[in-house]
């Protein structure tokens, strides 16, 4: 009797223990994956993509981006730009409420923007509003107000810039320019980032740090109410585990890890459910243009000619990227590129090195972040450089040490990428090549050219889109000619979804995705 009883207990225990690897599918929840937890959901403090992606669904700004990357109204119904291009007058939508129930007014815009510039908050993204009259004085603590932000009435706010700046509306689409309620910020203080209160299509229902976030649709949303009730983001750091969870049916949407892209593209079952687009980014080999021998533009051009980027893109990266000819990603502007970049030409590379007095080659160091893909790419680059007598010692560093080495100018050569904060070509020219932005501000190559500086500034002041794009292309050509970088490629993103998910779209920028398009098949 005892033996039978023990066996029964064992079987029941095993059954209780072994819950199925495939959990039940919630009918009103889209389940997504994040590889890491958001840092904060306080718009003023967001710097990472993960936090920005979530915040985009909880908050609104004056304007937003559509799926083509064009500026469209958000909290503002419309706006005027003054004749001199300096003053933007926004008319604010009526009947918009924060998640705490209070109606939004123009005062909230003023508060949110002042908060972004406040020295107490010390937002890393205060530069978004740096062109606003009085912004610098306010940020430096020399003034108690921002002269360029003026509330006309409960639903009108005017923002005056110190000079015409065409990309300004695009900066307002960034998550950091989202509008927040003052009373909630004061109530939660330093913890506001964990208790976000916005006007967005979703509200934060639950956040288990490093485990999951659940967003619930805001039925009182002023815009298109989401089709789905919940978005559940599960924090799954390991790629293989995420794939197993997707295959087991526990995830609905998965950004395909790089190593698995060839598998899924060749998989007949999943291929129809893959969305792909070339991202707004540029991967590059940066030179420290203030260090020898890279002060010499001939040496930089020689290195550019010495590397067969198309071959690396096709073999090492298995066509997960699109080869680049310059810094501006494809599809960002209609104006065609004026440059074809540097095609692989070993003889020309050798000739340029001879002209610069480096016929015998030279030794240098190539800094990179530790990572399997980075190492594979840089080993290929090392091989090409060795072929022209350039011995580039690979220096893999973990991320924090790598950033410091690059920002401080220690690295003579480095492998890095630049991703768009907003879909405007200026974002790929000003922070990266203007001489005022050396180091951590974006111009990590420490490149400087008065001519290019003026060209960038001129384009920034040009309000006519077609004219401005033409100037961007001309500036791009000048930059490519100076070769402060080897322009490698633009990375593509591949997103896989289960058949029950419909309406999923890939937006040009993560901050454009409000989550209102996605819906579930019953």
């Amino acid at each position: 009797m005892n033996k039978i009883w023990h066996r029964i207990v064992a079987v029941v225990a095993a059954a209780a223990l072994c819950s199925c690897a495939r959990s039940s599918i919630p009918p009103d929840t889209v389940r997504l994956r994040l590889s890491g937890s958001p840092t904060t959901l306080d718009p003023a403090l967001i710097v990472d993509v993960t936090s920005g992606r979530i915040a985009a669904k909880l908050f609104n700004g004056l304007v937003k981006l559509d799926e083509m990357g064009k500026i469209v109204p958000d909290l503002a119904t419309d706006w005027d730009v003054s004749q001199d291009g300096r003053t933007y007058t926004f008319r604010i939508r009526s009947g918009v409420h924060f998640s705490n129930g209070r109606e939004l007014t123009a005062r909230d815009i003023e508060y949110s923007f002042k908060r972004l510039l406040s020295p107490e908050v010390a937002s890393p993204r205060g530069w978004i509003l740096s062109h606003v009259v009085g912004a610098r004085e306010f940020s430096d603590g020399k003034s108690g107000s921002v002269a360029g932000i003026s509330v006309k009435d409960a639903h009108t706010v005017a923002i005056t810039l110190d000079s015409p700046f065409a990309p300004f509306p695009y900066l307002l689409t960034m998550p950091n320019a989202a509008i927040v309620p003052e009373e909630e910020v004061k109530k939660w203080g330093a913890d506001f980032g964990f208790h976000p209160a916005g006007t967005g299509p979703f509200v934060l229902a639950n956040w288990e740090q490093d485990v999951r976030l659940v967003l619930t649709s805001n039925d009182g949303y002023f815009g298109r109410v989401p089709h789905v009730k919940h978005l559940e983001y599960r924090i799954i750091p390991e790629d293989l585990t995420a794939i197993v969870e997707f295959e087991n049916g526990n995830l609905d949407v998965l950004e395909i890890p790089s190593a698995e892209i060839p598998y899924y593209l060749a998989n007949d079952r999943w291929k129809p459910f893959i969305l792909s687009r070339t991202g707004l980014n540029i991967y590059y080999l940066g030179f420290n243009c203030q260090q020898e021998p890279f002060r010499d533009v001939r040496v930089r051009r020689a290195v550019s000619y010495a590397i067969d980027t198309r071959k690396i893109a096709a073999t090492v990266l298995e066509k997960r990227v699109e080869p680049a000819t310059g810094p501006i990603p494809p599809g960002l502007i209609e104006e065609p590129a004026l440059t074809t970049g540097y095609d692989y030409d070993r003889e020309r590379a050798v000739r340029l090195l001879n002209e610069s007095g480096l016929a015998k080659g030279f030794r240098t160091k190539l800094f990179l972040n530790t990572g399997r893909e980075e190492l594979s790419v840089c080993e290929a680059i090392h091989s090409y450089l060795r072929d022209v007598e350039i011995e580039a010692e690979l220096v893999p560093l973990e991320w924090s040490a790598f950033k410091k080495a690059v920002a401080s100018g220690e690295a003579p050569l480095f492998y890095l990428s630049w991703w768009a904060d907003y879909p405007e070509p200026e974002n790929f020219l000003f922070p990266t090549f203007h001489s005022s932005n050396w180091g951590a501000a974006g111009n990590r190559a420490r490149f400087g050219s008065t001519e290019i500086d003026h060209a960038i500034e001129d384009a920034q002041r040009t309000l006519d889109d077609t004219e401005r794009w033409r100037k961007y292309r001309e500036t791009e050509k000048m930059v490519v000619d100076e070769a402060p970088w080897v322009f490698l490629w633009h990375r593509k993103e591949f997103v896989l979804h289960r058949p029950r998910v419909e309406g999923l779209k890939l937006f040009p920028i993560y901050s454009a995705d409000k989550g209102t398009e996605i819906l579930l098949n019953p």
């Binding site: 209780a16 223990l17 072994c18 819950s19 199925c20 690897a21 495939r22 959990s23 890491g36 840092t39 904060t40 403090l45 710097v47 990472d48 020295p119 010390a122 937002s123 890393p124 993204r125 205060g126 530069w127 740096s130 940020s139 430096d140 330093a190 913890d191 980032g193 288990e208 740090q209 490093d210 485990v211 599960r234 924090i235 799954i236 750091p237 390991e238 293989l240 585990t241 995420a242 197993v244 969870e245 295959e247 087991n248 526990n250 560093l397 973990e398 991320w399 924090s400 040490a401 950033k403 410091k404 920002a407 630049w418 904060d421 922070p431 932005n437 180091g439 951590a440 501000a441 974006g442």
Partner: protein, 310 residues
């Protein structure tokens, strides 16, 4: 015994002070700048300077260290530079998860390790001994992360028996794979130690006396021999438990287990100093407590030790 415990607790204080100082020194000497990671890819120099000032990172090393000590004296662990969450609050959430995983892993290690070790010892020179020894060697040679991924593929993907990640609101099924992958290596070491220790004990005269008194072989082995072989086993199990309480980065990362290990590792990569200090401190306390418990257990395993301590 009470006096012994109190003495050990008092000795822990200078130990913990030493731990904070060494950790602080190490943190400040490794390359990397926490502020650069916090400001993103584009930041004005004056914002970086302001942030450094707000966080007190522009102060001399001694000032920063004393500030941290005064924070500890107030019972606080500071706030994360990145998330601004109180470190104590985060640790309070994550440590029980790590404790659960560590406990389950050590339980598996002890049960499997002792079984294999005793079997190997009593069947010395036989096929069973060879099997147990080879199994233990395989366990020692298998990397934890590789085993973890293999378990996920087999039990979650292929067989669909167990979940691949998460903690599932405490359901036992979510604990199985992480505990197995973490406990396997420990089980292998314990098996080897147990075998050696048992072989040494089994040659002693008191076991011959026990057999002469008519006790069965398994009674002699389990009740008499095994108990006398336990000291090195308990030592090793205690060391492993203490180590697991400091967090198992690979296991927690692969299984998405919300524990101290992953938390600490991410903090190290980001140079999030308050979190690094907090997790190291908690880890040191855990190790001190576990070592004390192991030392106390010796007195119960071998009463002669209790007499020596008097």
């Amino acid at each position: 015994m009470r006096a012994y415990v109190i003495k050990r607790m008092l000795l822990a204080i200078p130990t913990l002070c030493g731990v904070t100082l060494v950790t602080f020194l190490l943190m400040k000497s490794i390359p990397g700048d926490p502020v650069l990671g916090m400001v993103g890819e584009r930041a004005d120099p004056h914002v970086i300077a302001q942030m450094r000032q707000n966080l007190g990172l522009d102060k001399p090393f001694a000032v920063q260290y004393l500030r941290y000590i005064s924070l500890l004296c107030r019972g606080e662990l500071g706030r994360s530079h990145y998330t601004n969450r109180p470190v104590a609050e985060s640790i309070a959430t994550k440590f029980p998860n790590t404790l659960k995983l560590a406990g389950a892993a050590v339980a598996i290690a002890v049960v499997v390790g002792l079984t294999l070790g005793i079997l190997a010892a009593v069947s010395r020179g036989t096929v069973l001994d060879t099997f147990c020894t080879l199994t233990a060697s395989l366990g020692i040679a298998t990397p934890v992360f590789w085993l973890a991924l293999l378990l996920v593929m087999l039990f979650s993907y292929v067989l669909g028996w167990l979940p691949a990640s998460g903690m599932g609101s405490g359901a036992p099924a979510f604990l199985v794979l992480p505990a197995l992958s973490l406990g396997t290596r420990s089980a292998a070491y314990l098996a080897r130690i147990t075998r050696s220790s048992m072989l040494e004990v089994m040659t002693q005269d008191f076991l011959r006396t026990a057999r002469a008194k008519g006790l069965g072989e398994w009674t002699v082995t389990l009740k008499h021999a095994a108990r006398n072989a336990l000291i090195p086993v308990v030592t090793l199990a205690g060391l492993d438990f203490g180590s697991y309480l400091n967090g198992s980065v690979l296991t927690e990362t692969i299984f998405g287990w919300n524990g101290i290990g992953r938390f600490a590792m991410e903090a190290i990569l980001k140079r999030d100093y308050p979190v690094i200090l907090g997790t190291v401190l908690i880890g040191a306390v855990a190790f001190i407590v576990v070592n004390l418990l192991v030392d106390i257990s010796y007195a119960f395993i071998d009463p002669r030790i209790r007499g020596m301590r008097r």
